[in-house]
């Protein structure tokens, strides 16, 4: 009896999601498009940047330094400006985000074996990229300095040797793209589940469900199961694309990845159902989903590490299922994260899922009262 009612609900939800051509399209196409967009466009590496130069020195040394900039693969071209004012204007116009200024006495000081000054102007509006360009410039300039002053003692002094663990080539895509396996299904499932109850409220079919013998908890489960199926389906497809098409290896266990994704989606669905239990129209549901989705992304460590957030925000980040899921996804893709570490991240998501589902069922019950 219980199983009959539940399966009827689940079948109906899946039919509603896939029967209509437009609805089917909306479930499948946007995640695919987003995977490709994110993989290619949302990169934090800096390539193809023009660099501005104001060279007031007439000596050969400054030209040598500039030719080193020219050879660097990160920079597309060197734009020369006659004065500081011109360079400033170029930054204003966003032609360049960085200008290197070489003083009049550059060559003379090198000849006198003194330390010459090079100033770097950065566009603070693009703080991240400018920082990265700055570090490239620094490397080039200090290398130039070492080689000019002590060409023969090159290997004598101590030197920092960098090695990036887990991502030896520091390939940005390897760190960024796997994350999409969690974030894209999250947005889709939030929408699908969050809106579905509101749509039924608007249509009046929700009352129809409430007068049937279905219990509130059954409605919650009946709404959650199709969302979980669709969400996991998307996870599988996106993982396939990430592993096969982008060639990003999964170093950890696939079983662990999907176990965590299941718990994660349950938590997300719980949040969606809780939102939908509070609202009465699709518009309100949309607002509620947005209200949750944006902070969930920001506080997850998706773009900036959770450790950098202020202390009072950190506990909030821990209640966010995406925070934990991102740790797991990155851990399983870039290194073989052991189960005990994964489990530490799974249980908070499970708690979020159970609490929100329970609240949603309670709210549906309360609405009847």
């Amino acid at each position: 009896m219980l199983w009959t009612r539940l399966s009827a609900l689940v079948v109906k939800e899946l039919l509603a999601a896939f029967r209509d051509k437009k609805a089917r399209f909306a479930l499948i196409m946007p995640p695919l498009i987003q995977v490709f967009l994110f993989a290619f466009a949302a990169t934090m590496e800096v390539t193809n940047v023009p660099v501005g130069v104001v060279n007031q020195d007439w000596g050969a040394q400054s030209e040598q330094l500039i030719s080193r900039f020219e050879r660097a693969s990160a920079f597309s071209e060197i734009r020369r400006y006659d004065s500081q004012a011109d360079a400033r204007a170029a930054i204003d116009r966003q032609e360049v985000m960085v200008v290197v200024q070489i003083g009049q006495d550059f060559s003379r000081k090198i000849a006198a074996r003194e330390t010459p000054d090079v100033s770097v102007l950065l566009d603070g509006r693009k703080s991240n990229s400018a920082q990265i360009v700055n570090s490239y410039l620094n490397t080039i300039i200090s290398q130039f300095g070492t080689e000019t002053f002590a060409p023969d003692k090159l290997n004598a002094d101590s030197r920092i040797v960098e090695r990036a663990w887990y991502n030896p080539n520091r390939d940005y895509r390897n760190a960024m793209v796997p994350v999409l396996i969690a974030t894209l299904p999250m947005t889709m499932v939030l929408m699908m589940v969050g809106m579905s109850v509101a749509r039924e409220r608007e249509l009046g079919t929700f009352e129809q469900l409430l007068v049937s013998p279905l219990q509130p908890l059954e409605i919650v489960v009946g709404k959650a199961a199709p969302g979980l199926l669709v969400g996991l389906g998307q996870c599988v497809i996106i993982s396939g694309i990430v592993i096969l098409l982008f060639g990003i290896p999964l170093l950890g266990s696939a079983a662990m990845l999907f176990l965590s994704l299941t718990v994660f989606l349950v938590a997300v669905i719980g949040i969606a159902l809780f939102i939908s239990s509070l609202v009465s129209t699709q518009q309100q549901a949309m607002m509620g989903i947005m209200l949750v989705m944006m902070p969930a992304m920001m506080l997850s460590g998706f773009s900036s590490p959770v450790q950098n957030m202020p202390d009072w925000l950190q506990p909030l980040a821990l209640t966010n299922p995406l925070t934990h899921m991102l740790v797991i996804v990155r851990g399983l893709f870039l290194r073989d994260m052991p189960f005990w570490l994964v489990a530490q991240r799974i249980w908070p998501m499970a708690v979020v899922g159970m609490v929100t589902m329970g609240l949603a069922a309670w709210m549906f019950q309360r609405k009847v009262q």
Binding site: T4, R5, A8, K12, L15, R19, D20, G204, S212, P213
Partner: protein, 576 residues
């Protein structure tokens, strides 16, 4: 009297391949009178009004509003018409005054003229006391008045009212008609579109539409008069009256028949002899008397009469006979904060009875209905369905009731079959039982041709059949209907009630909420809910008899409704 709108060969197609929404219409609309645009949902009434307001352009033909062609010169038309769209076009989050001010700004009504206009309109609509109230918090009748005030800001020559009486109770409806007659006296021309045929009788001229075509145009009284001598009451059939009506409708001489409380109203075919008591085939002695025709009789006869087909012969098996009341409200009370929406409402519905909950908007009938369905928990008292308390055994009690919501709540994206399968499943039917149940209702409601069509695209009549089919799939002994036939054309409505009557004949108990008097007339007994209290309970005839007086020798149910509400107001004032 001048011509305000001249329509010549008007055609409007929304979809090149589909049927025309308006198909070859030629007519004129005159000033100083109300022109009724009458027809069922989907007849093309709204399309025609929007064409007159120059909000749509015709696909073919010409339409001139106040002398301006709507295609070439739409702008000046906006200055001379007032248009009240369906649901009144108000901003529900703004107050009454803010709505008025907004519309005045939009329509360029500026000071000092604005102040006078506001004063005049607020006095006219009697809304001056509520200027600071949010439009969304107004009752249906007050919203309608505010909508009218907004449409009247520019003192229009032509006032277009699109279904102004939907969702408005009889009292507010009468008030609106009074206001419209006042405007007529001032020389305004009014177009009033409606799905309620009884309103046609208030119009000087009617344009009766069906499926984009005009069926009749002219004086409604002349149309009604064609039915003279063809309408009869059959009284005395007693408990067998439903079967009697079903039998009479099979007779080729009878084109239409409806129930009016204990009485059967029969309309004979043109040239047919008056009906004899024998055609009802009931044991009790039946008395047949001639009566005055109504506009609706003429309308139904014009559409070819009521359907002869009977649906639902096997729609459900007979219910076991017992004498216990099937549905019971025991002192049902619901309080929202300080406000008591339902105040100790008590009634009993017996097996095989149709019981109606009547009342003006906001009187508490929906609250009562929701408590009876288990959608709302009573603050006090109990609601019992088939002997089970909805609060104590909600799932079991709900399994015994079938519920059909106001707007045929179906899943529009799913096919007819998928809808039926879902509702069967939701009521716990599986395997062979589900197949049987689906097959049974598909057969009984003649849904086979539409089985794979999306429910959202069905014609209204089929949507209604499907909604009813879904509600009775699990063979509930009790059926709750929320305004089941509002906005539905008279033929579909007859078919629906024939089905309900057949089910009642098999022992099903039916509870209906409505504020349409013709729906109420199908009920065996009604409870009139007003200000949260059941102010009168009884058969429709009993209520009519209670208000019969020298001034009103033949009160209709609507008259009774209004008189009883007014009497209750007087008693309350006297007590205060």
């Amino acid at each position: 009297m001048t011509t305000l709108v001249a329509i010549d060969g008007l055609v409007k197609n929304f979809d090149a391949s589909g049927p025309a929404a308006i198909d070859g219409l030629t007519t004129q609309i005159k000033s100083n009178q109300v022109t009724g645009l009458v027809g069922p949902d989907g007849a093309g009434k709204t399309t025609l009004i929007r064409l007159m307001a120059a909000l749509l352009t015709p696909s073919d033909g010409v339409i001139k509003t106040c002398g301006f062609d709507t295609r070439d010169t739409p702008e000046p038309i906006r200055d001379v018409i007032g248009y009240m769209p369906q649901k009144f076009g108000l901003y529900e989050d703004l107050t009454v005054m803010e709505n008025l001010t907004l519309y005045a700004d939009l329509r360029g009504v500026v000071d000092p003229q604005r102040k006078d206009t506001f004063e005049r309109l607020l006095a006219f609509t009697d809304l001056a006391r509520f200027t600071n109230r949010l439009a969304g918090a107004l009752s249906g009748g007050m919203k309608q008045k505010l909508g009218l005030a907004c449409a009247m800001l520019r003192s229009p020559k032509l006032l277009l009212l699109d279904e102004p009486s939907v969702g408005v109770d009889p009292i507010s409806r009468r008030e609106l008609w009074r206001m419209v007659y006042t405007l007529i006296g001032e020389g305004v021309g009014v177009v009033w579109s409606t799905a309620y045929l009884d309103e046609a009788e208030n119009c000087a001229e009617v344009i009766v539409m069906n499926a984009g075509r005009v069926l009749y145009q002219g004086d409604p009284k002349a149309m009604t008069a064609t039915m003279a001598g063809r309408v009869f009451y059959a009284r005395g059939a007693g408990a067998e009256r439903r079967e009697g009506l079903a039998r009479a409708l099979q007779n080729p001489d009878i084109v239409d028949g409806v129930m009016q409380g204990q009485t059967i109203r029969l309309v004979t075919a043109q040239g047919a002899p008056p009906p004899t008591p024998e055609i009802l085939g009931v044991a009790a002695p039946v008395e047949i008397v001639a009566t005055a025709p109504r506009f609706e009789d003429a309308f139904v006869a014009m559409l070819g009469g009521a359907s002869k087909r009977t649906l639902s012969a096997q729609a459900r098996r007979p219910v076991d006979e017992t004498d216990a009341p099937s549905v019971e409200a025991r002192g049902l009370t619901r309080r929202f904060g300080d406000f008591t929406a339902a105040d100790h409402i008590t009634f009993r519905i017996h097996r095989g009875e149709i019981f109606g909950l009547l009342g003006p908007n906001g009187a508490g009938k929906s609250t009562t209905f929701k408590m009876m369905c288990g959608l709302l928990r009573p603050s006090e008292g109990a609601a019992l369905v088939d002997g089970l308390d909805l609060a104590k055994a909600p799932s079991a009690a709900r399994a015994r009731l079938g519920y059909m919501a106001q707007k045929f709540s179906l899943y529009g994206d799913l096919s007819v079959r998928q809808n039926l399968e879902f509702f069967a499943g939701a009521y716990g039917l599986s395997g062979a039982r589900r197949r049987d149940a689906v097959a049974r209702v598909v057969d009984a409601f003649d849904l086979t041709p539409h089985l794979n069509a999306n429910a959202g695209g069905l014609p209204l009549g089929f949507k209604q059949r499907l909604a009813l089919a879904a509600a009775i799939m699990h063979e509930p002994p009790v059926l709750f209907l929320d305004e089941p036939t509002s906005g539905v054309d008279p033929l579909t409505r007859r078919e629906f009630w024939a089905t309900i009557n057949a089910m009642v004949g098999r022992g099903v108990t039916v509870m209906v909420t409505t504020h349409f008097m013709d729906e109420a007339e199908y009920c065996d007994r009604v409870a009139l809910i007003y200000r949260g209290k059941a102010i009168a309970t009884g058969a429709p005839e009993e209520l009519q008899a209670r208000v019969r007086s020298e001034k009103m020798p033949n009160p209709t149910l609507e008259d009774a409704f209004i008189a009883l509400v007014e009497e209750s107001d007087r008693q309350r004032e006297a007590a205060a």
